[in-house]
């Protein structure tokens, strides 16, 4: 596919909001997962999460608007502002009818929704804020970004569990390839650290129960891995055709050059154990990028931290990369800050771009005793110096969703 440049990034994460702080924490493997104290989580089986701190310090959202939106929209707005500034976008000189917004989200804005549902049962119908109607649903951040910046082009919000934002970026890139927009704000946001959202995530059976040791709870590809720790945050980027970015003379972090997705069709929660459909998505993405497997220098893994998922992901990689699989550095940097669900793919893309910039593969933390069959180079002992020209990002969702993106320098 035609090269689609990423020229701006906005990261809102438990490891920091500023991209330099984020990279410093992630590349050094400083875990940001903490015990949940925002509400009483003592009765939950999973009591740890990655929390965003200092959001207000980076926010220019009015207090009047803050009363009407959920925190997931707030994080998306902060991330968008950072990304637009980073990309040196002057919106006054842009045709905003050709400015698109492609966002990914898995569960919606539950802090706002559950507060209002509580009021419904306590106070009755009129106890519910009318803002609830426009605050909770997954496309709410897309709407808020559109209103704030008056971007009125072709836009979508993708809901595909943890693969949501990688899919959104993929669709955004294809939209630019088809010349349906001049530039696109793409990414994802998630705010699952609320009583009801945590309960729903917990019910899926995919969350870690290593509550006594929050910083060591999320252990991708490890024998003791029992699931991921949820996290809140947003990953937003500015995408535009490479030729346009060069004409603007702005920094290009990297280019999206290939994307594909497949579905397992096996189980409503778990990924297929054989990894066959994930392997097919990897092949299709490589084909789209016109690259051979041996041209990939780094793979940013989904790394759900659950035995079946970690094994099937490893199987898929071995099926495509063959004997060379063990020579390619790969990692699950989200083990540092937690799994941002619908925002995770976007943050992985941004992490991968930073890895390219700093010529460093970030580590997978808490991997001490690899799971039998998981014998790839997961960079468990810390970050690794590496010139990265082409990288791959894998994102998977419940119900067997597989999304794969190829990025080049």
């Amino acid at each position: 596919m035609e090269k689609i440049a990423i020229t701006g990034m906005g990261i809102v994460s438990p490891s920091g909001i500023d991209k330099r702080k984020f990279w410093s924490n992630v590349s050094h493997g400083r875990c940001a997962i903490e015990k949940i104290t925002r509400f009483d989580a003592s009765k939950y089986t999973s009591q740890v999460a990655g929390h965003v701190h200092e959001l207000e310090a980076y926010s220019n959202v009015s207090s009047r608007l803050l009363k009407k939106i959920d925190v997931f929209s707030h994080m998306a707005l902060v991330g968008t502002e950072l990304a637009l500034q980073d990309a040196q976008m002057n919106l006054e000189h842009e045709d905003l009818n050709r400015a698109g917004i492609f966002m990914g989200n898995a569960i919606g804005g539950w802090l706002f929704a559950e507060t209002e549902l509580r009021d419904l049962y306590i106070e009755g119908r009129e106890g519910v804020s009318p803002f609830a109607a426009s605050a909770w649903f997954p496309a709410a951040p897309q709407g808020q970004i559109s209103i704030k910046y008056q971007m009125k082009g072709y836009s979508k919000t993708v809901v595909a569990d943890r693969a949501s934002s990688l899919m959104a970026i993929g669709y955004g890139a294809k939209t630019l390839v088809h010349n349906k927009a001049n530039f696109i704000v793409a990414g994802g946001m998630e705010a699952p650290v609320t009583p009801y959202a945590l309960l729903c995530c917990q019910t899926s059976g995919m969350l870690t129960q290593h509550n006594a040791t929050p910083q060591e709870a999320y252990k991708p590809f490890d024998q003791d891995g029992d699931g991921y720790a949820i996290a809140e945050g947003a990953g937003i980027m500015i995408m535009e055709p490479e030729a346009r970015a060069k004409k603007r003379g702005v920094k290009i972090y990297g280019n999206v050059i290939g994307y594909a997705s497949t579905t397992d069709g096996v189980n409503r929660i778990d990924s297929a154990e054989d990894g066959v459909e994930l392997a097919r998505a990897i092949r299709l993405a490589l084909e789209d990028a016109k690259l051979n497997p041996d041209q990939i220098d780094y793979v940013c893994l989904d790394g759900a931290g659950q035995k079946k998922a970690d094994l099937s992901e490893t199987r898929a990689i071995k099926a495509v990369f063959g004997a060379n699989a063990k020579n390619i550095p790969m990692s699950a940097p989200k083990s540092v800050f937690g799994n941002m669900l619908g925002a995770s793919g976007a943050v992985d893309v941004l992490t991968t771009l930073l890895a390219m910039e700093y010529k460093t593969v970030p580590p997978t933390i808490n991997l001490k005793n690899p799971l039998a069959g998981c014998d790839l180079n997961y960079c468990a002992n810390g970050s690794v110096s590496k010139e990265i020209n082409n990288a791959m990002v894998i994102s998977r969702g419940r119900g067997g969703i597989n999304a794969v993106m190829v990025i080049s320098k």
């Binding site: 009363k67 803002f131 426009s134």
Partner: protein, 76 residues
Amino acid sequence: MNIEDQLKKIFFDVLEIEADDIEPDKSLAVSLGIDSTEMVELNVVIKKSFNLDIPTSTFKKTQSFNDIVKFLKEIM
């Protein structure tokens, strides 16, 4: 506190609108950008604050700050 002052306090509590920014005879939608959901939220809080047992839709005809004041004076 008179009705006007109570209303100004509600405008601030609900929408963070300062009393100085209210132009009493101007349309709330035009002068303060108050949209339909904000209007419903304002009306619900006004009803609670003034202890009114009337349907929220009763407020539909009130376009300005002074319209609301006048309406409240009529029914109280």
